[in-house]
Amino acid sequence: MSTLSYAASDSATMLRRNLRHAIRYPSLTLSVAGMPLIFLLLFVYVFGGAMGAGIGGLGGGRTQYLSYITPGIVLMTLASGSITTSVAVCVDMTGGIIDRFRTMAISRASLLTGHVIGSVITTMFSTALVLGVAVALGFRPDAGPLEWVAAAGVLTMVTFALTWLSVAFGVFAKSPESASNLPLPLSLLPMMGSGFVPTGSMPSGLRWFAEYQPFTPMIETLRGLLTGTAIGHSAAVSAAWSAGIALVGYAWAKTRFNRARTH
């Protein structure tokens, strides 16, 4: 076998290991959906009536607000998946097993690749769960098959980027506790974007931040695909952000991972 196919088969082995962990401890995958679901219920039932009425042009109402907020909640789920990834990577990096892997003639990147692909898969499950709950609450996306495929593509792209960043957090963190804290701001960013209210309703400083942070175009793209609002440049901007985040995460994770060799 060539080096490349070894790399592929080692990554597949590591992926199987991570998926086995996920299946054995499903509570981790479920807890990723936990916080976004609490926000969903809280915002829809407690504030939903007032918020829906307040958001201009939506015609008001709880159902209307549910449909506005769901894309942001979904993005929140992706970000919350980062915490699990980062912790899992850190547990591997600080535990004994990493030394075993490092003394074997295996593809060096396979451990990280296995984590990335595994996390993308489990985060997609959590996302499907959150979307399912939203539909159960009355969310009625008007996306056709093509839009659904595009939405899945956008979500995968964003998850892939966030996952590389959280893998870097996991390699960087000295303990699983700090590994769970580092990605925390990520899961709050959708709230400080167009996830819960339109950016136009925000005070100017926050509005500027909200309009230029990565989650807003991602939310707008997803919202457009699922509920038919205007997408505009959002898709292209999301793709650029995702590529940037993935590259930074990948480069950071890789340097850190290789650096751990001197001591």
Binding site: R17, R20, H21, Y25, I97, D99, R102, T103, R261
Partner: protein, 314 residues
């Protein structure tokens, strides 16, 4: 090419703390080599360098014919490592851990599974095969750890303190497993704080103290290097004892138990000379005992300290 491990001039510092101060090692194929030293001597650091985990500041290393600096992957393909701390996946079962190793060694599905089951049997883990490794006892974890190391049939095996923290029974089982390995032709480098362990297992022992090798040789050679070896002869009565004491003028008589203490290094030659001298006089001792100094004496003599853990401390 008979060396499994050849290291010259290994140096390593962490900050300004010198941890290894010029280490040379030579381990012939098919032998057990023990790196003996107290806590903090630099054993783990040496193993981590030899197994490609960290880089030395200076020195050359060859493992199984591969240069460590030029061909670390060649070294990795030839070695198996069981570190000081457990390296099993707690969230997988014992069998899944072994299959993980088989997959990473590219054994293929059928061969990998067969190898896993073989090792489960060999290390008495058959019954626990389906349980999560996180629930294993200390002895079982160590056995699984070693079994995982063996999946890829390594030529050179590194064991960092393989029996530290084990109960006496698990220790003996582990010793037996290590001896079986060498019978199969592989080379083992192990580290230990325990003198009896090095004595029992190793063909060659290197005594490591504060980053320097203070002595190297077989257990017998090391013991002979220190004073304190002697032969005890017991005689039937005081007359015989007196006559023997007269002939062997360097001996010390202990009248109370009718024994004579003759200094000697415990070698066969010294013993033969002594018996020849006794024969010439026609004296027949009732009993003969050779006392060689144990490694505790060795360590004390070499380092001037007695801070190795004693039998009672484990």
């Amino acid at each position: 090419m008979t060396a499994a491990i050849k290291a010259t001039g290994l140096r390593k510092s962490f900050g300004d703390k010198v941890v290894l101060d010029g280490i040379d090692l030579y381990v012939p194929r098919g032998t057990i080599f023990a790196l003996l030293g107290p806590n903090g001597a630099g054993k783990t650091t040496t193993v981590r360098i030899l197994t490609t985990l960290i880089d030395a500041d200076a020195g050359r290393v060859e493992v199984a014919g591969h240069d460590l600096a030029a061909d670390p992957d060649g070294v990795r393909a030839a070695i198996g490592v069981t570190g000081q701390f457990s390296a099993v996946d707690d969230k997988l079962t014992g069998r899944e851990n072994l299959i993980l190793m088989a997959d990473l060694n590219h054994l293929g599905r059928t061969r990998g599974r067969r190898r896993a089951d073989e090792l489960l049997d060999r290390f008495d883990l058959r019954e626990a095969a389906g349980k999560l490794a996180g629930t294993y006892s200390g002895g079982m974890r160590r056995r699984l750890d070693l079994a995982m190391t063996l999946v890829g049939d390594p030529q050179v095996i590194f064991l960092d303190e393989p029996t530290t923290g084990l109960d006496p029974r698990s220790r003996r089982t582990m010793w037996q497993s290590i001896e079986d390995l060498v019978a199969g032709g592989v080379t083992v480098l192990l580290t230990t704080q325990y003198l009896d362990e090095a004595d029992r297992l190793a063909d060659q022992i290197a005594v490591l103290d504060r980053g320097r090798l203070v002595a190297q040789g077989s257990a017998q050679e090391l013991k002979r290097r220190v004073p304190g070896g002697h032969i005890r002869l017991r005689f039937a009565d005081t007359t015989a004892l007196g006559r023997a004491a007269h002939v062997l003028d360097d001996a010390v008589a202990e009248d109370a138990d009718l024994t004579l203490r003759v200094p000697g290094d415990g070698s066969v030659q010294a013993l033969r000379d002594l018996l020849d001298r006794l024969d010439a006089t026609g004296l027949r001792p009732e009993e003969l005992q050779v006392h060689t100094p144990d490694l505790d004496d060795v360590f004390l003599a070499l380092t001037g300290r007695t801070d190795t853990p004693q039998e009672t401390s484990r």
